[in-house]
Symmetry: C2
Subunit: 186 residues, 2 copies
């Protein structure tokens, strides 16, 4: 009937997503994606109405990527929110550009930080319930404090002002939880 497509929507999206990881969301332009995919800009506009649609698809893929990253991250900490902190801070270090896209840059029609973090697995709810089960009297407030702390460390990772090892970070997170619980070990 007609010519067979050689550049699929998957090719375009995968290329744009890889570019976001490696070069940052800001560099995902029509011509750059085309060059990296080895085609002209035309196939992009065949499968996406415009660049906004592609950017949104990249954003959604980044959300999924983060949630997979989080769910696969090893859970070695005992204190509530410590594993959450480890995963988020590691993500900020290893996926700078994705972290910036998901948690810092204020773009149009983006999901809230909480929505991205909690995800389908209910990551936040899980940690809150864990805290409650361990005797935390106000787990919501505990989440707020721990998240402010985790988020601060993650953002400082991007600026280069936070550079502790995984072991040190785990200690910091565990101690912080104990401190906020009123059981500071000092």
């Amino acid at each position: 009937m007609a010519r067979k497509e050689s550049i699929t929507i998957q090719n375009i999206l995968d290329t744009a997503f890889s570019m976001t990881r490696e070069e940052g969301f800001i560099n995902v332009t029509a011509r750059k994606v085309a060059a990296r995919a080895g085609c002209s800009t035309q196939p992009i506009f065949r499968v996406y109405k415009n660049m906004d649609e592609l950017w949104n698809a990249v954003y959604l893929k980044a959300v999924s990527f983060f949630q997979d990253y989080y769910s696969l991250y090893p859970r070695t900490g005992k204190a509530p929110f410590s594993n959450m902190g480890m995963a988020v801070i590691a993500f900020a270090r290893e996926e700078r550009n994705l972290f910036e896209l998901l948690f810092i840059s204020q773009n149009v029609h983006r999901k809230s930080m909480y929505e991205v973090l909690n995800g389908d697995a209910g990551n936040v709810v899980y940690e809150i319930n864990l805290a409650k089960s361990l005797g935390c009297t106000n787990p919501q407030e505990m989440f707020m404090k721990m998240w402010i702390f985790i988020y601060g460390a993650a953002c400082m990772t991007l600026t280069g002002d936070y550079d502790l090892s995984d072991r040190e970070t785990m200690e910091l997170l565990e101690h912080s939880y104990e401190s906020f619980s009123g059981n500071a070990a000092r």
Copy 2:
């Protein structure tokens, strides 16, 4: 001898700085500054070699602006780092674009976060000494923890995920210091 200048270097810098505050650093372009200053782009390049020079001048002005803002901020908190936290979080709320420029965006030849924060007045050193005088055994580590916390809250202010009142923020900061000291009030 010659024609008198009608657009001074101060006009240009003040215009560019106001634009940064109101519209963000990213919008400081040659043509936009010129339009707002009511002239062509030519006077800009008479007083500045190129846009990079102007951007750098704007950045330095933002540093001074922050340090003045900090030094004029009322000191009502008793716990070390609480007044620092109040000033930085208020700055993030009231001067979003300047906060982003100074503390988030990773531009060329920028000062470190610590340098901006500490300033000529030695803001950080002051708080560390205060903590030491109040019996803090490791004031350096205390600064790290408190700054991570303050920075997290400030960055979340920008994304809209932190919106506590000044009173609530002060309580949070005072309690955090007590928590990290091992004197949690709960």
